[in-house]
Structure formats: C-alpha cells, structure tokens
Symmetry: C3
Subunit: 396 residues, 3 copies
Amino acid sequence: MENVQQTIKELESLKTDMVNKDFLLTWQKSEDEILATIKVAEALKSLFEKNVSTRVFDSGLAVSQFRDNSTRTRFSFASACNMLGLTVQDFDEGKSQLAHGETVRETSNMISFLTEVVGIRDDMYLGAGHTYMKEVAKALDGGHKEGVLNQRPTIVNLQCDVDHPTQSMADLAHLKNYFGSLEKLKGKKIAMTWAYSPSYGKPLSVPQGIIGLMTRFGMNVTLAYPEGYSLIQDCTDVAQSNAKKSGGSFQIVNSMEDAFRDADIVYPKSWAPFHVMEKRTQLLRTNDSTGLKELEKQCLANNARYKNWECTEEKMKLTKGGKALYMHCLPADISNVSCKEGEVQDTVFERYRVETYKEAGYKPFIIASMIFLGRFKDPAKVLGILAKSGKRRVGL
Amino acid sequence: MENVQQTIKELESLKTDMVNKDFLLTWQKSEDEILATIKVAEALKSLFEKNVSTRVFDSGLAVSQFRDNSTRTRFSFASACNMLGLTVQDFDEGKSQLAHGETVRETSNMISFLTEVVGIRDDMYLGAGHTYMKEVAKALDGGHKEGVLNQRPTIVNLQCDVDHPTQSMADLAHLKNYFGSLEKLKGKKIAMTWAYSPSYGKPLSVPQGIIGLMTRFGMNVTLAYPEGYSLIQDCTDVAQSNAKKSGGSFQIVNSMEDAFRDADIVYPKSWAPFHVMEKRTQLLRTNDSTGLKELEKQCLANNARYKNWECTEEKMKLTKGGKALYMHCLPADISNVSCKEGEVQDTVFERYRVETYKEAGYKPFIIASMIFLGRFKDPAKVLGILAKSGKRRVGL
Amino acid sequence: MENVQQTIKELESLKTDMVNKDFLLTWQKSEDEILATIKVAEALKSLFEKNVSTRVFDSGLAVSQFRDNSTRTRFSFASACNMLGLTVQDFDEGKSQLAHGETVRETSNMISFLTEVVGIRDDMYLGAGHTYMKEVAKALDGGHKEGVLNQRPTIVNLQCDVDHPTQSMADLAHLKNYFGSLEKLKGKKIAMTWAYSPSYGKPLSVPQGIIGLMTRFGMNVTLAYPEGYSLIQDCTDVAQSNAKKSGGSFQIVNSMEDAFRDADIVYPKSWAPFHVMEKRTQLLRTNDSTGLKELEKQCLANNARYKNWECTEEKMKLTKGGKALYMHCLPADISNVSCKEGEVQDTVFERYRVETYKEAGYKPFIIASMIFLGRFKDPAKVLGILAKSGKRRVGL
C-alpha cells in the first residue's frame, strides 16, 4: 500500500473544487484539479491491482447517455461505475434530442432522482455536444436548487464535439507512467498529426483534447494536418495560451514529416475537417440523406489526396532516436489489417500495440476518478479509509 | 431519524397481508395496506435523503418487462430496485406476447429462479394488460407451489390498461405532503379532467387510477370529459363505491369549467375514448395498419373538436381562490412549448412545474415500498434495523 | 448447513485445475472437475435456498456476448453473476464479427480491464462458435501475459456449435438429484433422440453435449436419428471413447422406438442435419438470402418425412416400466400446444413439465459454479466462509 499512501499524501496538498461539479473540458480545470484526477486514478488502479475493494457507494445510479455507437467508452464507463459501486442505467432517447417532445430540462430531472453521475457521449453534431451537456448541467443545477433533486449529479463528458477529456487524461496518465513523471514531460515533443483513413466524419475531439491538455505540461506540441483539416479555432487558441503559460510551445504545420522530426511522442489519427463537420451537422439536422452521401463522397475523395499521411516505419525513423512513443485512442485504421491503406503501417502498430492497449487501460480509472472527485469533498480521506480497510474485491 | 422512527411506529399499528403478493390495482388493497405503502415510501425517502443505505438485498434479480416505450417508469423502477440492492434484468420478449411459441407459464418460471420482483408495464391493449399480469401471477403461484421456484416473486404493475398504481400512489404521497396529511384531504375537491392533446391512443389508466384511489380519502372527486371519452365502466363503479364508503363524493360532468369550479386540485390530462381503445386493440391484434391509420385520423379529428379543453389561466381562476394545485403525470402537452395547442397553457404549467417534478420524485420510493412490502413480513422491523445501523449510502 | 458442509468436505478431495481457465467443452475437463462443478453448484443452490448470501465479489464485471437471440440463457447467466456479486455488461458487437474493423484480439482486451468472466453464446455458424471462443481465449492469455490485463477472465461457453456445457451439466445435476446419486446413473439407459419439429436450423450442441457428457458415468447412451441427421463426427467419437472408459456404452440407431425401448431417460429434441448446418453456414457467410430460403424449404420438407419421430404416450410405453424420465432443454415443440405437430405429445410433456422446469432451474447454479471454480483456487474454503458467515441474502 506504500504507493497508495504516497499518492494520498500528495493529494492532500492539492486545492480542488470539484464536488457536485462537472468534468466537461480539461481547460476548465485548474492544474491542481488535473493532477488530483491523475492521482486518484492511480490510487484506484493500485487498489484494484491489490484486490482491494474500491466501493464507495452502497447503492446509487449512474446514467449513461450515448448519442453515438460505442463499445470501448461504454465498457470504460461501466467499469468505472462498477468499481465504485454504482449501477449503470442507460438513457436511450432515440436519435432525436427531444423524443416525445420532452424538454431536456424535464428529462434531466426525471432520470436523476437517485443519480450520482451522468455520463454523456455526444460527438456527432458540431456545436451541439458541449452545448447539450451545458444544458443538462443547467437543468440539474435548477432541479437541485428547487428541491427536486436531493443531490446534484456530476456530469462526465464521455466525448463531445469539443473535447474528449477521458481520453486525453488517460493518455496523460499513460505518458506519466511511460516517462516516469509529469515533470519529465517538460520539453518533450509530441506530434499530434492528422493521418489518412478510408472513413469519414471522425470527430475532432481527440486532437483538440490532446493539444488542449498536453500544452499544460511544458511540452512542445506540434499539430499537423493537410491544408483544410483545421480544428475549431477556440481550441487552437486554448493550446496556444496554455503553451505560453506552461513554458512549452504550440505550433501548427502542414507536413507529417515536419511534425515527426525529433518527436518523443507521435499521435497520428484521422479526423474530418472542421468545415466538413459543420456542413455535415447541417445536413444531419435537416435529414438530407442525398446531401450526406454527396458530402461523404467529396470528403473521401479529398481524404484520398493525402494517403501519404500514414505513420510508416520510414517516418518513425525521423523521430527522436527513431523511437518515439506511438499513441492512439483505438481502434486505429491499420494498413493491410483493418483496411487497405490507413493511419498506420502494420509493423509500426504491432510494435506499439501493447502500449496502446495499456494506454486504453487507464480510461476506466480516469472516469472513476472523475466521479470520485465529483462526489467526495475529501478524496484523500476516503481513499485512506479504503486502503486501511483493505476489504477484498474478489474473494472473502 | 426522528421522523423515520415516527413512521416506523405508525407502521406497526397497520394490518397488512402483502408478502409474496402482487400490487396490481389499488382497490384490491385495504386502507391499511395503502397507508403502509405510503409510509414505507416516506421512510425510504427520508433515509435516502439522510444518506442512509436502504439495501435490504445482498443480491437478487428484479425483472422488468416493458411492453411499451418508457423512460420515466424505467428509471423509477431501476432506482427503486437499486436502492434496495436488486439488479434489474430486462425481459424483452419482442412485440408478440408469445415470442418463440413459449407459453407465458413457462417463460414466467424460466426468468424467476432467482427473482424477487417482476415489474410489468403493459398498457397498449385494452383488456390485455391486467389479464396478462394475472396470468403471470398464476404461473408464479404454480411454479412456487410445485417446487420450481424457491420464492414467489412479487409483481408490481408499472401501468396496465386498468390502473397505474405507482403513479396514483406517488400522486397521493405528493398530495399528503402538499396539504400536510391524508386527513386534510377530506372534503377537498379534485378535478380529474380530460384535456386536449394533438396525440392519440393515450391509455386510460391514469384517470382510472386517480378516481379509484382518491375517492378513498373522503375527497370530492369530479371526473370530467367531453361526450364519448368515458372510461371503463368497472372503474367508475369502483370510484362510486369508494366515495360512498369514505364519506366523499364522485361525479361525472361534461364540462372542464364545471370540474374546475372551486377545485382544490386539478389534474387535466388527455386520454383516448374507451371505444377507440377497444377498436385499436382489435386492429393491433390483426395488424391492420390501414385500419389503424384511419382510426388515428378519425380520433385526432374528434379530439380537435375539444381544443378548448385546455387548462388555461382563465380556467384556473375558477378554482378555489384561483390557486388549485395543478397535477400531471408528465410529460404534459404544453401549448406553445411541446405542441401548438395542448393540455395546459405554458404559464400555468411553468407556475407548477417544480411541483409536478416533485410529484414524479415520489415514484421511485413508492415502487421501492411496493417491493419492500411484497418481500418483508415485518417491514417496521427491517426499516428499524436500517435506521439504527445508519450505514452510509454514499461514502465510507 | 449440514448438506453444504458435506459437499464442501467432498470438494476438498477433488483435484481441479480450473482457475483462470475456461469452460468450453465438458470433455476437456477431468472427472474430478466435472464433479467439482456439480458440487459447487449444489452448494450454491443450497445456500441460496437457505437465504445465505453467496456474494464472493464486492465488485467486478461479467461480459455477456450473445451472438444469437436468447432469453433463458441470458437470465441464467444474469442470475449466476448476480448471486456472486458480478455486474453483467452486454457486449453487442452487431451481427458481424469484426464490427468497426476491430480485431477480436483488441476488442477482447478492451472489454476486459475489470472483467472476471466472459460468457459467450455463438451457435449459429458451424465451425465458428468454438473457434471464436478459442480466439478470445488466446487474446485474453496474451493480454494477461503482456501486462495489459490485471487478471485473466474466465470464458464460459453459453452454447457453441460443438457443445452446450451449461445445459448438459444442468441436465446431469438434475439426473443426479432425480436418481439419488451419480453412482446410480451407472447402467441406466438414456435415449438422446432426434424429434420432429416444424422449425429448422436448430443447433447440434445439445445432443452433442449430452452424448459427450453422459457417456462418462457408465450410462448406456443411445443416440437415435433418421438417416441424414448425423452429428459432428468428432463428437460421436468422443462419446464412443468416453463410454469405453466409463464402462458404459454408446450406440447409434435409426429408430426412435429402438432408442426408447427399456430406456430410463428419454431426451427427444430436434436438430438440423450436420450437412444442412454446414451449407447454412456458407450461405450465411455470403449473405445468400435466396439460397437460405431454398435451403429452409428443402430442410422443412425433409423434416416432414419424419413427423412420426414424436415422443408419444405410445412410445413412452416402450420405456422401462413405461416411466422413463422425459427431459428437454426447453422450449419444446409441443404438439397441439406450441405447434400442430412437434417433438412431444401434449400429455407426455404436461406429465413431466414440472421436472423439465426443475431441470432448467439448475442452470443458473451450474453457471455460477463454473465462474466460481474459474476464479477461486480453494473453492471449498470460500464456500466454507460463506456458510459460516451465514450473511442473509434477503433481509438484514
């Protein structure tokens, strides 16, 4: 339990104001709050691996709302809730935001009478996902204030149009573990670059999340994409400002090679151009299936102009000592494996496969940490009781 | 814990015979049983609000069977089961009652080996929902008697064609809280009235449930609807007979204004006429989609003749001091909000919105109470142990 | 608790090597392991009936993967997991094995970070189900070895193309209980026979599972089917070899009457011929719907030639004293009840109905036992602690 005790001690010195609050965008959180989230996740992971129960709820509901298909995030959220003692209840409102003419305000209250956390994934509509989460947050604030809800549930953003904090925080935990500490990330170069994929309409939230978070730790963050594949302007502004504050740097280039050169970490991943996502959102709203097909065709044709944006062995040689850490949120489009031509060459992926699996393995604990910090005023104390009691998770 | 102790004490004086029994129709329950259900619900709500765990099951399944779409009832049932320690397993048999040619008898046994409670919602077919629940009840009786089932699960009616006891009992709990006591309901006038809605085929179970339950407490119950929108005759007979016994009254009028006049409580809500539901049931059974479309068209046209059956500010002025309590099972069809013309004027609804949310907030606890009383012979004792142990629900 | 203590004692003398292993085919398990599985199931059933909690997990996920519709197995698995304290999370990958281009290896790891057990039903494709389970097993082995997974989850075969161990083991538990002991099964004749059904494409796993398991206990196993309805050759080879070792016998006949003659137990159940399932698998793989319709037509026509393969009162008279035990995995095709002409005459089925329900009632406990033995090195010790603590499952 030594490392857990150490983590608890470090946690005590951090100033956080997360109880009954939501985790929507990492840049809305203070540095201490980001650190606390990482530390609680590590403590929970450590207890889990030592077969110590982390049940801090004797009962309670966790609502999951997936407005897009998901297997991995669904399992991460289910795992996080389960290890804390919460039961997941899916809220499936169908495709439309206001099924049965119910207002978001009303429904948000109706599903929350005994709810501790609401996990929402809403990444399909640009300009909609984050907005929707704020709407739910406002409804829950109101319901709690008006005496309808006994408790104010915490919303966890499981991916929106703007950020993907459970991914970027899991990535950060992985980097911390891989390089030894957050301090050691200072001065490291990370290349967040667009990569070719034969699919279309992938959200922008991963690259936006990565540049928004990694610029806070003194890293040199390079964002690379072919002309036209820009991100939401606000997000690159955030990255720019973060880099300035942290003593790192942020730059945008239009060449994968330039980004890879001397990089310590590469994160090659496809996304749809901002303006395509905007157009797509409009077409989805008006149910214009002809327009959507036409857009897909155009977009795929445009993507195809950049098939050379692939993370190959050759490009990997450009990185620091040829040994940059390859990262991906998974599933990756692996050339000759999951598709003919994709984001990454098969041998590169296979060499880092286990690392990408471990990277994903942080997610359940990051989500559990976000819930934990959203519910407990004194997280160090609660973790301390867990560690001390040492109740077995498996077995008697 | 003072109020919980008081509730427990009051509970001890009530005679109930609910263990291993079902909660199908409120009028099958004695007055003591109705009171006990309210009291246990209040005790559970109170413990919940004090962060005291109400887990009385260490494990056990709760089967939910929804033969109609549902978000609110699904969450209420899930919440109720969760707070008691039961895990919900959905039984989704598809549209047909006898999917795979399985008999109800067999399936009811197959899903019940470790089951403590079966929650059923079956309100689409007139003459079918209640009948189906009785069939399941018979199967469970048989299975238990024959040694197939170790325990006889309790069925909770989550809405059928006849009654909606979880709704009407939650409404009663809300009224008790709003007016201070059940005694204070004596002599109060409640107007259960039809209201215009642009949709069609809404079940009769809410108005039937309300007149069947509220007539037991000495209230003056007025049921109002346009000609042709009558309820099941048996239900109005029950209301008539209840009113006689309780010293209240029950009358049917054909004017919303007459019903509202001097009312202490108004419950304006749309429903389909009995004969339309009968016709619809036949058409659904024969899969006659042309017939169904024609019926919907006729029915909507007929509804449209009564657009003035709206709960307006003007009509509210007719009520006692202009301040009758507005009730609704939600979601309401709010004019200019959820539809162009609906059941209630937007300003009226908004004034009572928080009250309707609180009304809905009783439902999880009412369902939990029904389960609790269906499983424990000495509910006062079990509640006493919970209160005394004071185990935390959230936190350690 | 006397019988539980006795079972625990017997369990101590058995040699098993099941921890972190899978339960895929009964013939991969030693006789001691088969016995241990029966004994743990009986102990869990006994504790359950005495209202003693069998929660051995404080938290943990159980993944269920149903690649075919299922109500009964779904409930059995949910019940088993619930009684042990695991939460089921459905993994629904859609129809295709590789939805989103994810490899089985990756997905198997992604859903297993906090997973204790993976229950898989995959019986539609001949040559695919068992193969798929082995693929998942390999992925989990790799993930555990590579440090991706903290624990190696146990896979439970909930029915594949080859075996249906949860069914055959539940059947064995039922026979043990019915005849008094496993020893008493020696020399008993069981007739596993094909029976007519108006449906098509039923899996071979039940008859294969029955002949593969029952031949291990010195029983005289007769497999009967009309010409052309043979099983997988490997499975009849296993049965042959088992019979030789156990001192029983195994024979194949082409007459239901011959099989029934002097039988102590009859198990009349329809299945599709091996070569039809092979053809069907090919057609399903190529999405050949015309071919599938044609095959169904041919197959049903062929089935219809054997309508006299029905378990009638007359045929039952041929059995030992006319009183053989009738078994079925349910649901049975009952003539004049679930279909016009089927596997079994209505009066025969009704006479044994309660027995078939009890037979099914062992399944949740058999599955729980498989999970239990897959997770705990010293099952006798863990059961002993449960029995001693005597913690209530229902109530406080």
